[in-house]
Symmetry: C2
Subunit: 439 residues, 2 copies
């Protein structure tokens, strides 16, 4: 069947013009805000040497890497030498090692590119999707965390979000609170898995699950007391008073909150002791964006001082944030948040073609209108005017310009407003400026 | 060696910030001009089902396709089920078949995305590179050819090129001229290969090669007379007067030239009877951009009515143009054609940090300056001011803002111009507007 053969590959998507405009709009806002914070763009190749990615994503992750067959004589052996980019962090680490001499001591980069994962496709989960990463490499200052929260807030506000919360926690605070409640080190991992379900199954559910996972009753009681999002950072500090390094982590968070209070992140940032965010590589603050009525997050990040130096064999301080472009697009679509202008076609005006004789004049007027700053689609052949008008209406082009023999003789152009059906004759030398300033 | 492991894969490139800015600048100009002509953006996945690409690029091409291993149990067998996009034309044909009901009768799209080819890397030849395609699907009118030439001219002029020529020919005119000169059908292919070398080996060289390839002496003489770029279209018409369908093709070209004469393409478009452009899939007009002192072209295109319908099993009229982004970037770099602004870093101002106590004030002022429309990089920690200034100078940031204890007390900000070393104190409420309007 033709329809079978022409579908995009499983888990992948074709983006028709309106969808591309939406994607470019959101990407443009993100990049523009990041640039305002002094972040610079980086791009890396879609394909990496397979060794670059091997062993970087755990057992589960490595199953999802798309591997590329070695070209040439090796082809029949099934040998692979390249793999598709799985995230933007490992390539960043590679770039930091490879181009170290050329990069500033504090390297602030954003990177907005697709990644590929051979995941089982599901609603909202694709095998090709964009990541929007922003990272500051080279500083341990909490100013970095505060600025990242501010930048992400500015992005979301610029896109029209008002109801988001940036949850803030710290890897060491999280384990410190468990420790203070009396959960043994071996049970901390399982306990976190239970606590992470607070939003889904509620306090009672979490309590039952903690007990099932072997956490002592006294510890469960303390945990349920500690892990609710209204716990103030002062109370958290009291809970961990006996653990000096945890107190230090609390102080880092206090500093992030104080610094961010001078920025646009202030109304959105909130300490949340239950935020876990997969602990594997974070070493300090962790952040996650929650939006009302959306399960899951719009993005998240944190400090990960151990990862970027992986190719250098030394620790390089790093803190970053990753926005989920695909999810942002879904939410914005559901909430009808895109500017109406994106719904329009690429053209402001359809330049119609009256008859075979006047084609050169239509070509000429189209060029004039473009010079006046208009986006002009020139209808290519002298079909019936009604057909041309229907074409313009179907493409939601707002105006049609008609240059018939009469108009030509009078030095005028007939301009039809396709939204309300009105039309009037305009002197040719004025038509560009007039259409340019039509609302 | 670390340096071995951290290099990008063979034939692929990392793009550091300045290079990304250059690429985005050129892509932005191309997209902006194409939109002005009513073309709309399309994006397709990097990976296609392998059957979609198989048999579409000839024997040589199919060797260069990167194939992706099937995931899951099939992995060990070396079986492949996906392949990386090799060009933007086959995906366009697939999209036209798949989304036919949703696309307008005349589908004008541009697509600017990377493609991958396992070619032997060489100077200016990469295994990952961008194509910039623009195509109009659904009309046989010569208006399409004329508009494409105008759009491409506008792109090149907007990028700063002045010395380019768009060569124009027609597949049938080319073979018609050979036929008229008395070259038998079987020798037309070899003869074209020789004629295609006119720029490289000159008329005498081509004459010798034609003879070697078995073209009769009388035909060689006629061919050398015909195939020089000064042959007027009127003379070409006379040469093929006895071949009605070739006369028709000449008339098409005459029409393209007449229509384009009303557009920005007029000073650049030139009939060139020797333009061949790999005849395989073109069915009508062919175009190619030549620039003085550059071997090879900046792009090319033509009419290919047989290709887009490949998945539909019917003929769909199509005409397009492809710009060579990588080559345009190389030429613009060699000729120093990029705007100076691209050389600057992402930030207009470095907000320095005076000491630990004033960090929150620096964060606050950075936020104020951003609200005033400036791109501000906030230095993250209270290093010595000299070190911060050096950082700004290295990144070519133009201004540094200093907020010391004295300035804070006076409600002022010290602004240092890093280009000329001058500095002066500015009332805090004015500093945003002042820096925004500094040249």
């Amino acid at each position: 069947m033709a329809s079978q053969q022409t579908r995009p590959a499983r888990g992948m998507r074709d983006f028709l013009p309106e969808e591309v405009r939406r994607r470019e709009y959101v990407i443009g806002v993100i990049a523009e805000v990041y640039r305002r914070y002094g972040f610079e763009p980086l791009e890396t190749p879609a394909l990496e040497n397979i060794e670059t990615l091997t062993g970087k994503y755990g057992e589960e992750g490595s199953k999802l890497i798309f591997k590329v067959l070695r070209r040439g004589e090796g082809e029949s052996s099934g040998e692979t030498d390249l793999a598709l980019r799985y995230d933007l962090t490992v390539p960043l680490a590679r770039v930091v090692a490879e181009h170290r001499g050329k990069l500033p001591a504090l390297f602030k980069r954003y990177q907005i590119q697709p990644v590929w994962r051979a995941d089982r496709p599901a609603r909202g989960r694709f095998r090709e999707f964009y990541q929007c990463d922003v990272d500051a490499i080279g500083s341990k200052s909490m100013v970095v965390e505060a600025e990242l929260c501010a930048a992400v807030s500015d992005v979301l506000v610029a896109l029209g979000f008002t109801d988001f919360v940036i949850k803030l926690n710290h890897r060491r605070v999280l384990t410190g609170l468990l420790q203070a409640a009396g959960v043994a080190a071996a049970l901390q991992g399982p306990a976190l898995i239970a606590i992470d379900k607070l939003d889904k199954i509620g306090r009672d559910g979490v309590g039952r699950e903690l007990a099932e996972r072997g956490v002592a009753e006294s510890a469960v009681t303390k945990l349920l007391e500690i892990f609710h999002s209204d716990l103030s950072i002062e109370r958290a500090r009291e809970s961990v008073a006996g653990l000096p390094d945890v107190v230090g982590a609390i102080e880092d968070l206090t500093q992030v909150l104080a610094l961010a209070s001078e920025t646009s992140a202030a109304p959105h940032l909130r300490f949340d002791p239950s935020l876990a965010r997969g602990l594997s590589y974070y070493t300090g603050a962790i952040m996650e964006i929650a939006v009302t009525d959306l399960a899951g997050s719009l993005g998240g990040g944190g400090r990960y001082d151990g990862l970027i130096g992986m190719f250098l064999g030394e620790e390089v301080p790093a803190c970053g944030f990753s926005l989920g472009l695909e999810r942002i697009l879904v939410v914005m679509g559901e909430r009808d948040m895109f500017p109406a202008s994106l719904r329009q076609t690429s053209a402001d005006v359809l330049m119609t073609v009256f008859d075979a004789q006047t084609v050169p004049e239509a070509v000429k007027l189209a060029a004039e209108l473009r010079r006046a700053g208009l986006r002009v689609e020139l209808y290519p052949q002298p079909d019936k005017l009604g057909k041309q008008m229907k074409y313009a209406a179907d493409k939601r082009i707002r105006f049609a310009a008609i240059l018939g023999t009469d108009e030509l003789a009078r030095g005028e152009v007939m301009v039809k407003n396709l939204a309300n059906g009105t039309q009037r004759s305009v002197p040719r030398e004025l038509v560009g400026a007039e259409l340019k300033h039509a609302d």
